[in-house]
Amino acid sequence: MAFSFPAFSYIIALIVDAFLIFFSIFHVIAFDELKTDYKNPIDQCNSLNPLVLPEYLLHLLINVLFLLSGEWFSLLINIPLILYHLHRYYTRPVMSGPGLYDPTSIMNADVLTVCQREGWIKLAFYLLSFFLYLYGMIVVLIAA
């Protein structure tokens, strides 16, 4: 049972995906707190903004691995999310620091619902892809 590069990619992807799941759970909780008045939007944005780029980069990392190892199906599934991330970051509000969330506009009900929905959808996506990577890893390992 050789330990191939695709298998390595999947293992890394599994670990990274676990982190991504945590990120999105945090995201959902943070916006829920905002909605229920528990947190000040400035503080909340200050805690959320530093996490945006790491999340995007981690997600990009596993896709680079998939690309290098030729796991086209897994890559294909992730491409829409990459595009969404790119779009999201290009259309972010004018900010000097990294991040997406602007404390002055985040309390707008539309923005809040969009962000919350985004969090839930990403959570679902990462969970599903976790099992996909698990399956992919097993398939790769067995095939080897």
């Binding site: 905002l34 909605k35 008045d37 000040n40 939007p41 400035i42 509000p93 004018v94 900010m95 000097s96 602007d102 404390p103 002055t104 309390m107 707008n108 009900a109 539309d110």
Partner: protein, 1228 residues
């Protein structure tokens, strides 16, 4: 006005009795504000006290009445954390980052002056130095205030205890330095310029490089010394007129009204009304007395017309045109010349309903084919703004239009061309529906009619019909369900401002006082029950609040416990349910709460047991003096810091002299108590501080060269106590202008100065006032010029968003430290207001803007002076938060205004000013169908300038509506415009200008489509009429005007800064000012004497009607005053009578008038006095008096006036009629 077509409607000052019935505007404060008339309470009233500095000159309470209820609430030693309410959201001021327990005085900071890296040698400012300049308009202008003038106690409502009792209210608005000031002397010789700071002197930037001619601003007329009268109260109430014309039971077919059953309405409204007679049905079916729904199916403005007047135009042939025939609306009766319009209107109306005769589908042809038995149905004009009150006396006087006596109907008016009865449509069966215009014509209707005539005795029938129509008409009035054909009535603007639509609450609360519409207003006065219904109506749902408005009667209450709902923390209000004497049910969350024992005490009767007599229950606007648990820290003192730009452009503009003089004149009037602190910082390429510490005999300047990392040289002596250092401050303000009169580097380090100001103020909070004249181009927050002067009139506007978030972040920091930043932008070139405005937007500040400012332009200096005087002396609330609570099921979607949103319903307002308005968009999240009413409560917790913590609570209750018709008829057009304009600004920022404009246009289409759907009218493209509910009839007009505003117009060259400033203004203006700015008032002023009230003692001001903004209404023999709130333009046409010229301007011929005048001369003539009284009256309800500009109709800058005629077609923009056509074609 040679270029304007002569207009038959311009001879409009009709006979004087036109206004005979318009009662002099009376304003009942108590009724208007729904507040407890405090002054009527006995002096021993324990729980309530009248605001000592309240504006009301009428209700000034005796000091004795207040004193024993005034308690000291400045409980500085109160520990915040020990309070029981500490964790209640909404009760607390925003948490402060530092020094929560600190004393109000700032703690000393450790930075010492001698530790400066490269401090400049401090220059001593000699005491005797002063400005060589004289204030441009110090006291030399033609007596802006007569010596005997006592400024009215208006606008300033400082309701803190009278520590400085009358300084604010009686402070004369003197422009120049007070006479007590030291005489000005030679300047610079004693004041060496700091050499190191100014060693390099690069050439200054060219001025006015990309800017066009200066704006026209004029000195203004003084505010009048009258009791302020809120706008809208000028609406005279129509006295009910006994019906004396041809009787109601006259010929029935004259009635243009729908005799259907009432659609729906408040149950309480039925009293005194007999209900529809039982015989409505049959006549409808035979079409004899069917309702005429054609277009204006509303009341004629009849009651105000002389009733006995013979029909002036019975025999007139119909006019060949269709659009200008609508008589002007409103309670003021149209002059006789306009009567023909009504009649012409009739025949040209589109055919409505079953047509007796095949007169063709279009009304234009019907008028020429008088049917033999047709009656001269007056096509009634759209409803006047003022409906006569219901009741027998106010039955619609149809007779005055129907000259012929009731008799054989068929022969009454053979010569008349109108065919009212043709248009009687079949009645729709369902109540709530208007007759269907699409009902097929019944060809044999006239025969049927004849049969019916035979069957019924004519008189009987006549009587029945008359009653029917009157009944229906009455019902229509009662429910406000009128319909207007927009295409038919072109003169749709009411001549006198209308009261906002009345709110009719359910029976139980019918008598409860609701919040004044000037404070709290909703776009729809009956909230749709479901979100689905709201979507169907396609109206924006939102509320506009003006929470800190200066009020005349504000009940102030001090009590140990403020009664609030335990669940949602709602304050007790007039709309709660009392379950029994001991418990109350919250009207927002429906929790049942206990009443504290002391609430049983009625302070008026000094008896126990009836909680409904408490002022909290009687008044929807109330102010509490908050006990200690509402404080996180001791109330902060008033702290004011002024930042003056002294870069090259600033020095050239000369604003510093005006600003310093104004500030100096108003030092005493600054709101505050003994702890008030003040500081001044100047900045150009460096930051200059002024030390005024103890021991110094003159202010000491310290310049910090390092602008990338600013620090405070000596924090404790930069902000000084005003009362202790008044002379030093005065001295500094005297020398500053001359100190900065020499050339300087053309760079402005605004960012660094703001950072320094933040550091200085952070421990206490307060207000930073920034005067900026150019683009900040060095140090942190430096900006690049972005505007492309060639793209000023392009379709798409770029750079509406900030270039950097520096100012926003700074504002957020300031907001956290309870600092507000106000910006006075006096630029002569592009200064990127889009970026700069962030500092005010998010710190609850205000942006003021005078484009192309030059102090040498007299009127601009005057304007700055007025602006600044108002700004400095108005009431101010510090460390404020505002929470808006809604009935469960409704939530706030978006906020509009200047603030920082701290949570879903909480706004953080470091400062709150009486001139700031707010808007909120609402969403309906749950069905409200089981509710009778929906309530909104805005609670503003603030620290007054006297260091008192206060809570001002406004509560608004609105009924709900379950069907679309009710929703549409309850719309409040002005409020919709207010909210829409704010939404459009957001859309411009987030999407694009064209998208925002598109959206604004679609609002009219959507609303009218919804109405078409509700009424089952034909689609716009298939119909010749465009029907709108009476409530929304002004919507297209206002929308069109909105699109032509500076903020949203395209195709006309508009400087980016002006546009952005207009957007800022839209976001923060209170509704009244906003509507006036969108659709300015145009008054004819050449015959003011016709409108003067001779009988009234208090109010000498004439009251001319408003005109629509179209060149059609401009007569070449007239003079017109256009008032948009910011400025007034007096437009004198060439044919105006020499008498007017000599009376008003003191010139004998038109040609002697200059091209532009900036002030209105005061002549000792009646006409001049009237005009001044009128202008003063207009100025009465705004923060500061408007500019006035007098233009001849052939002067080169007359476009300033003509561009405001928004109903006319201009290049690349619709005229009103085109806009209506556009809307009509889109209505689906």
């Amino acid at each position: 006005m040679s270029n304007l077509p002569p207009n038959p409607y311009n001879n409009f000052p009709g006979p004087p009795q036109v206004n005979a019935n318009t009662a002099p505007p009376t304003f009942n404060h108590n009724q208007q504000f729904g507040q407890v008339p405090v002054s009527q309470l006995p002096p021993g009233y324990g729980g309530i006290k009248q605001d000592p500095n309240s504006n009301s000159p009428l209700h000034a309470p005796s000091p004795a009445a207040q004193n024993h209820v005034l308690h000291n609430v400045n409980n500085y030693s109160q520990s915040a954390s020990s309070s029981p309410a500490f964790n209640q959201p909404g009760m607390m001021p925003p948490p402060l980052k530092q020094n929560l327990q600190s004393s109000p005085m700032r703690p000393p900071m450790s930075t010492a002056p001698n530790s400066l890296p490269n401090p400049l040698p401090p220059h001593n400012v000699p005491l005797s130095s002063a400005s060589p300049r004289t204030v441009p308009n110090a006291n030399s202008s033609p007596a802006p205030y007569p010596p005997s003038y006592h400024p009215p106690q208006r606008q300033i409502n400082d309701n803190a205890p009278p520590l400085i009792p009358s300084s604010q209210t009686t402070q004369p608005l003197v422009n120049g330095p007070p006479s007590s000031l030291p005489p000005t002397g030679p300047p610079q010789s004693q004041y060496p310029v700091s050499s190191s700071a100014y060693s390099s002197l690069p050439g200054s930037k060219p001025l006015n490089s990309g800017y066009g001619p200066g704006l026209m601003n004029t000195p203004y007329a003084p505010p009048p010394g009258q009791v302020p009268k809120p706008p809208g109260s000028t609406m005279p109430s129509q006295p009910p007129i006994p019906f004396s014309g041809p009787p109601v039971s006259g010929p029935p077919r004259n009635s243009p009204l729908v005799p259907g059953p009432p659609v729906s309405g408040p149950p309480g409204g039925m009293q005194g009304f007999n209900g529809p007679p039982p015989t409505q049905g049959p006549p409808r079916q035979v079409g004899i007395n069917g309702p005429n729904v054609s277009g204006p199916s509303a009341m004629p403005p009849g009651p105000s017309k002389p009733l006995g007047q013979p029909p002036p135009s019975m025999g007139q042939p119909p006019a060949p045109m269709g659009l200008v025939s609508g008589p002007p609306m409103g309670p003021g009766a149209p002059s006789p010349q306009q009567y023909p319009g009504q009649y012409r209107n009739g025949p040209q109306g589109p055919p409505m309903g079953p047509s007796v005769q095949p007169t063709g589908p279009l009304g234009t042809s019907t008028g020429h084919m008088p049917p033999p038995n047709n009656f001269s149905g007056p096509q009634n004009p759209p409803a006047g703004s003022q409906m006569p009150p219901m009741g027998q006396q106010s039955l619609p006087p149809m007779g005055h239009q129907m000259g012929p006596p009731p008799g054989p109907i068929v022969q009454t008016a053979p010569g008349l061309k109108s065919n009212m009865q043709n248009r009687y449509p079949q009645m729709a069966s369902a109540p709530g529906n208007y007759p269907n215009h699409q009902a097929p014509p019944i060809p044999s209707l006239s025969q049927q009619q004849a049969n019916i005539m035979k069957q019924f005795p004519q008189q009987h029938l006549t009587q029945q019909m008359g009653q029917l129509s009157v009944t229906k008409q009455g019902f229509d009035q009662l429910w406000g369900h009128h319909m207007v054909d927009l295409l038919q009535c072109k003169h749709i603007l009411p001549e006198y401002p209308e009261d906002p639509p009345e709110i009719k609450l359910a029976h139980q609360f019918a008598d409860s006082s609701n919040c004044s519409p000037e404070v709290f207003r909703c776009t729809i006065n009956r909230i749709p029950e479901t979100n689905n219904l709201l979507q169907k109506s396609r109206l924006p749902l939102g509320i506009l609040i003006h929470p800190f408005k200066d009020l005349n009667h504000l009940p102030v209450i001090q009590c140990a416990t403020i009664v609030r709902c335990r669940a949602c923390r709602t304050y007790i209000n007039p709309f709660v349910y009392f379950v029994d004497a001991k418990r109350w049910k919250c009207n927002l969350c429906y929790r049942v709460n206990d009443l504290p024992e002391e609430f049983q005490y009625d302070p008026v009767s000094k008896s126990y047991g009836d909680p409904t007599r408490r002022p909290e229950i009687k008044s929807a606007t109330i102010e509490f003096i908050a006990p200690g648990e509402y404080m996180l820290r001791p109330p902060q003192p008033a702290v004011y810091l002024f930042l003056f730009d002294v870069s090259q452009l600033a020095r050239e503009s000369g604003y510093l002299q005006v600003a310093c003089d104004t500030l100096k004149a108003n030092l005493e009037a600054l709101p505050g108590d003994a702890r008030t602190q003040i500081g001044i910082i100047c900045y150009d390429a460096h930051v200059h501080y002024y030390l005024m510490s103890e021991g110094l005999t003159r202010p000491k300047e310290m310049t910090v060269l390092d602008i990338d990392d600013v620090f405070l040289p000596s924090p404790s002596s930069l902000l000084v106590n005003l009362s202790e250092r008044r002379e030093l401050v005065r001295e500094l303000l005297t020398v500053l202008p001359s100190r900065y009169s020499t050339p300087a580097p053309p760079s402005s380090a605004l960012g660094a100065a703001l950072q320094a100001a933040y550091k200085l103020m952070a421990p206490t909070g307060g207000r930073i006032t920034v005067f900026q004249t150019c683009l900040p181009n060095v140090g942190p927050g430096a900006l690049q010029p972005r505007e492309d002067p060639n793209a000023r009139s392009s379709k798409e506007v770029a750079h509406l968003n900030p270039a950097t978030d520096f100012y926003k972040r700074l504002a957020l920091d300031c907001s956290g430290a309870q600092i507000a930043v106000d910006l006075f932008l006096l630029n002569s070139q592009y200064a990127d207001l889009a970026s700069l405005s962030g500092m005010s937007k998010f710190s609850a500040g205000t942006v003021y803007h005078i484009p192309l400012f030059r102090a040498t332009r007299h009127h601009q200096a005057e304007q700055l002076n007025r602006m600044l005087t108002r700004y400095l002396t108005r009431k101010i609330g510090f460390e404020a938060v505002m929470r808006v609570r809604c009935t469960r099921g409704i939530s706030i979607h978006t906020f509009h205004g200047n603030f920082f949103v701290r949570s879903t319903d909480l706004l953080s307002l470091p400062n709150v000013s009486p001139d700031a308005g707010f808007g909120m968009q609402l969403t309906i999240e749950e069905s409200l169908s089981d509710l009778q009413q929906v309530c909104f409560q805005a609670a503003l917790l603030y620290t007054s300038s006297k260091g008192e913590r206060r809570i001002r609570v406004h509560t608004l209750a609105l009924p709900t509506a379950s069907n679309l018709t009710d929703v549409l008829h309850a719309a409040d057009t002005q409020c919709i415009i207010g909210l829409l304009s704010k939404m459009a600004v957001d859309r411009c920022m987030s999407a694009s200008m064209s998208e925002a404009r598109e959206a604004v246009m679609n609002v009219a289409v959507d609303a009218l489509s919804a109405f078409r759907l509700a009424q089952n009218l034909p689609a716009g493209a298939n119909s010749s009429a465009l029907h709108a509910p009476h409530s929304l009839r002004l919507l297209p007009l206002y929308l069109l005007a909105l699109l032509k505003r500076k903020a949203f117009r395209t195709g006309t060259s508009t400087r980016l800064d002006d546009r952005v400033w207009d957007m800022c203004n839209v976001k923060v203006s209170p509704l009244g000012a906003l509507v006036r700015a969108v659709y300015p008032d145009l008054f004819p002023v050449h015959q003011l004497a016709h409108y003067a009230h001779h009988d009234d003692d208090d109010d000498h001001a004439p009251d001319p009607p408003r005109l629509q903004l179209t060149a059609e209404r401009i007569n070449s023999t007239g003079a017109y005053l256009l008032d948009d709130g910011e400025s007034m333009i007096l437009y004198v046409c060439h044919g105006v009578s020499p008498a007017f010229l000599s009376e008003t301007f003191g010139v004998t011929a038109f040609s002697q008038l200059p091209d532009e005048m900036r002030s209105l001369p005061r002549a000792a003539s009646h006409g001049s006095a009237l005009l001044h009284a009128f202008i003063d009256k207009l100025n009465d309800d705004r923060p500061y008096a408007s500019d006035i500009l007098i233009l001849r109709d052939n002067s080169p800058s007359r476009t300033l006036f003509t561009e405001r005629l928004v109903e006319d077609r201009v290049e690349s923009a619709f005229s009103y009629y085109e806009f209506l056509q556009h809307v009509k074609n889109q209505v689906k």
